[in-house]
Symmetry: none
Subunit: 246 residues, 2 copies
């Protein structure tokens, strides 16, 4: 069975909310928290009291400068957003996400954005799935800890269902598939593309460069290529760097 997911809080603002998220996690057995550039530094004296005893989660929390660093060793990345934006990634609820986490090998990481503004476009670009809690369209007001607890609850609930079903060994074709490559390998591939494309003017005009980079990342993230496939693509790019024989 896959390891429990990593909860990644991206640029969280209040220590109190970090503590509440830790408490929400531990209620359902999740212990691995990562913090990307928390606004008020770390450790944060407001986190402990709000964790209500979930100190083990806070003590083990790791800090990262960037979201990409925080998920570099993870194969499956979910970006939590309250509402769909014009995205071309599959959107899953906490239940479907939990099923993926229990059925797909490799590390899963769930990104949660800052309280006021959510995830940035660049954070979302790292993910292959959008995780959206389906809420009342006329009143959407989930806070950070609530989004975390619903996700953690579903991971726990689906886990019990999976365990209950395991009397029946039911290997699927998916089990034989290799997991997606870790994020760092995918990043290496994307950089390789950019290195070849940049000098050929692909990212011009400059005003469109960021959007073009996001599109490139998005197209290359969608496949969920495994380690071997990424290696194949790196070979293709290296080949393309050579001059054709005349």
């Amino acid at each position: 069975m896959a390891e429990p997911p990593v909860i990644v809080l991206v640029r969280p603002q209040l220590g109190e909310n970090i503590g509440k998220a830790a408490r929400a996690m531990l209620n359902f057995g999740l212990t691995e928290m990562r913090l990307v550039n928390p606004r008020d530094g770390w450790p944060n004296p407001s986190a402990g009291p709000a964790a209500a005893g979930a100190d083990i989660v806070l003590d083990r929390a790791k800090i990262y400068e960037t979201t990409a660093d925080a998920v570099a060793d993870c194969e499956h990345i979910y970006a939590t957003t309250v509402r769909k934006r014009g995205v071309t990634k599959p959107v899953v609820g906490p239940d479907a996400a939990a099923e993926l986490m229990h059925s797909q090998e490799g590390r899963h990481a769930i990104l949660f954005g800052r309280e006021a503004s959510g995830l940035e476009t660049e954070d979302v670009a790292l993910a292959r799935h959008i995780l959206t809690v389906p809420i009342n369209p006329e009143f959407g007001s989930l806070n950070l800890a609530q989004a975390v607890i619903l996700t953690a609850y579903e991971y726990s609930r689906i886990g019990r269902e999976v365990n209950a079903d395991q009397g029946l060994v039911q290997p699927t074709a998916d089990d034989e598939m290799l997991p997606p490559a870790p994020q760092a390998e995918l990043d290496g591939l994307i950089e390789h593309f950019e290195k070849l494309l940049g000098p050929r003017g692909y990212f011009l005009p400059e005003s469109r460069a960021d959007a073009t980079r996001r599109t490139l990342r998005s197209v290359l993230t969608k496949p969920g290529w495994n380690h071997l496939e990424v290696r194949t693509l790196r070979g293709i790019l290296s080949t393309l760097e050579r001059d054709p024989r005349d």
Copy 2:
């Protein structure tokens, strides 16, 4: 279909928690709250700010002297407890409870106890089911609003499942994603790759050429890229055909 459940807060202590419970409810479309003998009276000035806009729930809340009065018109009563005590009633999780709420006619009411001590034995006695959220046995620390939100979330989630089973139209975000490009477009992409790679010796030695072609096709087929994504990749390949600027 049955009416949505009534959320009954039995002798709640803090107005703030009543407000948070209202917010949790409305996120998942529940609007009917009943309060049994709230400690600080009603209305409570702390409730509104914590409701974060869920005023409709607070404005409509009804007050009762006893739990029995609060559920007098309800057919199905659930007593929420964190841990099972020595009870002889069926114990259900939020998921199984939600299934009952959607499948059994009549009014359903869910009792939540006071923050510090939970429901009294007399309250539990009114219920036919015990509703327990299965939490980490080594760290059980759910607060009132969290218990409410998990219950409301499950009511909403199961409701969507029921609707989906009934053939009701239930558009999902996945439906908005473009389908994979037609095979001809994918073939055009693969040929484009081959045209660039062949002269650079990628398919050598000749004895491995077929296997290498299959691997290439396999890697490019896996993503299920849509029409726009294939077009992006064709643009990338065209760019790579150009010489870099010096």
